[in-house]
Amino acid sequence: MDKALADFVEMLRYSDVPVSISESVDAAETVRLFGYKDRGLLKVALAQVMAKTIEEHENFDRCFDEFFSYNIDPDLAPGAQAEDTAEDSPPSPENGETPPEGSDPNNDPASANPVSGGGEGGGGLSGEQSQGASAASLLVMLERNDRTELTLAMTAAANAVNLRNIVLMTQRGLFTRRIMESMGLEEVNREIFRRRKEGDEDGADGLAGRLEILFDSVRDLVDRQLAFTSSGKAKQFRQDILKNVRLSAVEHRDFKYMRDLVRRMAKRLTDLNSRVRKVKNRGHLDIRKTMRRNVAYDGILFETHWKQKHKDRPKVLAICDVSGSVASVARFLLLFLYSLNEVLPKVRSFAFSGDLGEITGEFDRLGPEEAIPLAIDKYGGRSTDYGRALEDFKELCFDDIDNRTTVIFLGDGRSNGADPRIDILKEIKQRAKRVIWLNPERKSIWGSGDSEMLRIAPYCTKAETCNSLNKLELVIRDLLKSS
C-alpha cells in the first residue's frame, strides 16, 4: 500500500469510518485497478470498499475531498502567470525564454540572472553537493523551478519529521521549520547571503522570493495535516473525557455526544444480554435435530428436540429522582433510562420529586430531546420526598413486581427530612429479584445532612456511587450478567 493511501486510511479512522485491515487491503487493490488519475471514479470505488453505512459514506466523501484537494504542489507557476500583470513578482526561468512583448526592461536581466546565477552557484557548491545530495538539490530544484521534484522532496521531508504526529495548533511553526530544514533551507539561505555579498541583488531576491513561496506551501501542508488529524483526534479525545467526567460537570452542549455514547452503551449491554436463551419443551418439533439425535435408536423418536426458544430478558422498573438536588445529573440519568427503554422491551420508567409518575409513555412516543425536558418539567422542581414517591410507586405497580423484576433507583437519597419509608423499600426488596440504588454522590458523604442513604443501603441488593458514564456502564453490566 502506498503512503498516500495509508494516510487516507488513518484519516478515515479518525473520522468515524472504521476501516479494517482487510478493507484497506481491498482499498489498495482498488487503487491499483483504478489509479489516481480519475479522482471521481476512484472516490466512487473506494467509498464502496471502505464506507459501510450511510453516515460513513458522508464522512468518507468529506474526507476524500479534503484529502485529495490537499494540493501540495508548491505553486511557483502563479508567480509566472502573475508576472504578466505584476512586475515585481519573482521571475521564473521560463519567462526568460519568451519575454512578454514590451515588458519592463528590469524584467530581462532579472529573468536571465537566475539562470546564470544557478550555473555559478552549482559550480561553487559542487563540493557540498556531493556531501549532502538532498541539501544541494533544494537549491537546484528551486533554480530549476521543478514542481514535481519539490513536491516529492516536501512530502519526503514531511515524513522524515513525522508530520503525522502533529496535534496542536502551536506546533505549526515548529513543523514548518523542521520540514524546511530537512529539505535544505540552510544552504539556500547561505546562497542568498553569498549572492547579496557579491552584489547580485536580483539573483538573491529571485531565490528568496521562490523560497518564500516554498515556505508558504510547506505551511499549507502543515495546516492541512493539522486540520485532518486533529479534528478526528480531538473528537476521540473528547469522547474519552466525557466517559470519565462527572455527570454533573458535563456541559449542555455535549448532550448530543453523550446521547450517542449512552445509546451505544445501552445497545452493547443489551446485545450481550439478549442472547441468553433457554430451550423450551414445546413449540415446533425440530425434525432435523430430533432425527439426528435418534439415529442411534434406529430412527425411532425417543428424544425430541423443540424449536421454540425463549429469550430471557429482565423486567426493569426504573425510578429517577428529578428534583433540584440532582438537577444537574437528572438529564443524564433520564437519558440513560431512555436508552434502556429503547433497547429493552420491558422497562417501565418513573420520575419523581414530590409526586411520582410513570413516563414510559412519553419515552415511547417522543425523542429524547423532547421527552427528557418534558419529564423534568412535569415531575421536577419540587422538593424531594422519598416517602411519598415510594408510596406512589407501591400503589402504581407493586403488583407488577415479581421475582424476575429488577428495580433501579436513580437518586441521591436526600429526602429533606421527610420519612423515606424504608418499610416500603423493604417490601419491594422482598418481592423483587433485586433492588439497585445508583447515587450520584460519593460514598463518603452518604448520610451527611438530610441524606438517608445509610438507612436505605441495607435494603438494596446493591447501592453504588454512579457519577460517570463508565461507572454507569459497570453497574448495568453487572445487572445484566447476573440476570
Binding site: S22, D38, L41, V49, K52, I54, V295
Partner: protein, 315 residues
C-alpha cells in the same frame, strides 16, 4: 464476460450500457460496484429505501451476465436448513432399513462380532454423504457448474444467527457441512445482499461486502428510467410527472414515493390517457404514489402548487 479485462473506465461504461439494454438505468456508482465485485471477488451489500430497484439490480445483473438467478428471501426464523442444506431424512431412514435387510447377506462369511464390524466398516459410510444432501439456495449457488447470481434478499429481516452462517460463504465462497467437510464453490457466484436497514448489519458481514447505497434518483435519472420502463408515455407528461414526484420527495411524509411507485403512476396515467397533470387527476391517483392515508390527506392541498411548479419547470 467481456468487460473484465478492460480498463476500469471502459469496463464501467460497458456495464452501464449493458444494464441499459436490460432496461435498468444505473449510474456510475452501481456500475462501479459491479466491476469491483468481479475484480475483488466480493459480494455487494445493497442498501437504500424500499422501491429504488435493489432487487431489480440483481435481476438485471443476472440478465446481462447470462447467469441464472438464485434467490433467497430472508425472514425472521430463517435457518440453515432452509437456506444452506438439509438432510433427506426420509431417504436416510429408508437407507438404514435397507441396510438392515442386506446386513445378513453382506456379513455372511464373517465370523464373530469383531470381524463383522471390520467388514461393515469397509463399506464406507454413505449415511451422511452428498447423496442425502438436499441443497438449498446457498448450496445450489455454490454447486452450480455455471456462474450464477445469488440474491440474498432483505437480509435485515433475518436473525443474527443467520448472518453468522453467511460469513463463510461471503468471504471464502464455501460452506462447511460438519458431517461431510467443506464444499467449495465451483464457480464463484456474484452475490447481492439487499437491506432496507431495519436493523444494523454486523461489522463482520459489512466488512466482507462492498457497500452500495442506492438513494432516490435525481430528476434526470428518473426521467430516463421512466422513459425506458414506460416508453409509451409522452415526453411532456413524463417530465411533469417526474418533477411532481421529485417535489413530493422533499415533503415530510411517512413513506416517500420510490421509483417503483413513479413507474406505477406513469402506467396509470397512460391507462387513463392523460395528456397533462391536472388537479383532479392527480388527487384521484395519488394513492399510487402515497401509501398512507395520512400522507394522502396532507398532500391533498399541496397538489395544485406542485402541478403548477411541475408545469412551469417543464416549460
Amino acid at each position: 464476460m467481456t468487460f473484465i479485462d478492460k480498463d476500469p473506465t471502459t469496463a464501467i461504461d460497458l456495464i452501464k450500457d449493458g444494464f441499459e439494454t436490460a432496461g435498468y438505468i444505473c449510474d456510475r456508482h452501481i456500475a462501479t460496484s459491479i466491476y469491483l465485485s468481479q475484480k475483488l471477488d466480493k459480494p455487494i451489500l445493497v442498501e437504500g429505501p424500499p422501491g429504488v430497484g435493489k432487487t431489480e439490480l440483481a435481476k438485471a445483473a443476472s440478465e446481462i451476465l447470462g447467469a441464472p438467478l438464485i434467490r433467497l428471501q430472508c425472514y425472521e426464523g430463517l435457518d440453515e436448513s432452509k437456506a444452506l442444506y438439509e438432510w433427506k431424512y426420509g431417504k436416510q431412514l429408508l437407507y438404514t432399513q435397507i441396510l438392515k435387510e442386506k446386513l445378513g447377506d453382506l456379513l455372511e462369511d464373517a465370523v464373530g462380532l469383531e470381524q463383522s464390524m471390520d467388514k461393515l466398516h469397509q463399506f464406507g459410510d454413505s449415511f451422511y454423504s452428498e447423496k442425502f444432501l438436499e441443497a438449498r439456495p446457498l448450496l445450489q449457488a455454490l454447486k452450480s457448474e455455471v456462474k450464477t447470481v445469488l440474491l440474498i434478499d432483505e437480509i435485515d429481516k433475518s436473525d443474527h444467527e443467520f448472518e453468522a452462517y453467511l460469513l463463510e460463504i461471503l468471504s471464502d465462497y464455501q460452506i462447511s457441512v460438519p458431517e461431510i467437510g467443506t464444499i467449495k464453490a465451483k464457480t464463484k457466484p456474484l452475490v447481492f445482499l439487499t437491506s432496507n436497514n431495519t436493523r444494523e448489519m454486523s461489522d463482520a458481514l459489512k466488512r466482507r461486502c462492498l457497500h452500495l447505497y442506492i438513494p432516490f434518483p435525481d430528476a434526470a435519472l428518473e426521467r430516463r428510467i421512466i422513459q425506458t420502463r414506460v416508453p409509451e408515455l409522452e415526453e411532456n407528461l413524463r417530465n411533469q410527472l417526474v418533477s411532481f414526484v421529485q417535489q413530493l420527495r422533499t415533503q415530510d411524509l411517512k413513506k416517500l414515493p420510490a421509483v417503483s411507485e413513479t413507474i406505477d403512476w406513469a402506467r396509470t396515467l397512460l391507462l387513463l390517457h392523460a395528456e397533462k397533470l391536472d388537479t383532479d387527476l392527480v388527487r384521484n391517483t395519488l394513492n399510487m404514489l402515497l401509501k398512507f392515508e395520512e400522507d394522502i390527506d396532507n398532500m391533498h392541498s399541496e397538489v395544485p402548487k406542485f402541478i403548477a411548479a411541475a408545469q412551469k419547470e417543464v416549460r
